[in-house]
Amino acid sequence: MFTTAFIAILVVMFVLLLRVALGPTIFDRILAINTFGTAIVLLIALFGFLTARPDFLDIALLYALINFISTIAVLKLFRHDSLGKSVDE
C-alpha cells in the first residue's frame, strides 16, 4: 500500500528532475525544484510508515520549512540582486 504511493513519488521525482534539466527558463527550474521539495517531504513521511517507524516525521517537517526558505531566498535575489535589502524598497 505504502509501496504504491512510494513508487509513484519516485516516478514524480524522476520527471521533476527531467523538468529541471530541460528548463527552458530559470523559473521552470525553480518551480520544479520547489515541487521536488514537496515530493521529498512526502517521500520521507511515507518512508517512516513503510518501515513502521514514523519517527522520521520531524525531518519531513524541517524540509517543508527549509524548502520554502531557499525558494524565497532565490526569488529575492532575483528581484533585488541582493539578499540584504529589505522588501519595502
Binding site: M1, F2, T4, A5, A8, I9, V11, V12, V15, L16, L18, R19, T25, F27, D28, I30, L31, A32, N34, T35, T38, A39, V41, L42, A45, L46, F49, P54, L57, D58, A60, L61, A64, L65, N67, F68, T71, I72, L75, F78, R79, D81
Partner: protein, 105 residues
Amino acid sequence: MFVVSWILLVLGSVFCLIGTLGLMRLPDFYTRVHAASIIDSLGAILILLGLITQSQDPLVIIKLILILLFMMLTGPTAVHALAHTAVLSEKNRASDQNSEHPQEP
C-alpha cells in the same frame, strides 16, 4: 479504516502523477504552475490524509497535521512569489529591449 487509507494514498499518487504529466505536457511556464499546484495541493493533502488515517499515535497525527498546515501556508506563498518574479523579470526584459540600453546586472 484500512480501505479508506488505501484509497486516499492511491488517489494522492494518481494526482501527483497527473501533475507531473501536466508539468511535461503544458506549453509554457505560466500554465505549468497550475500542474505543479496539483501536486502541492490535492496530491500532498490526500497522501498525508492517508497517512493520518493509518496512524494510531496522537503525536504522529499532530506532526502530520503540522506538515500539512505548513505546506498549505508556504506553498501558495512560494508559488505567488515565483510567478510574481517571473512577470517582473519579463517586464524588465521588455523595457530593456525597448530602450535598447540593457542595464548591467
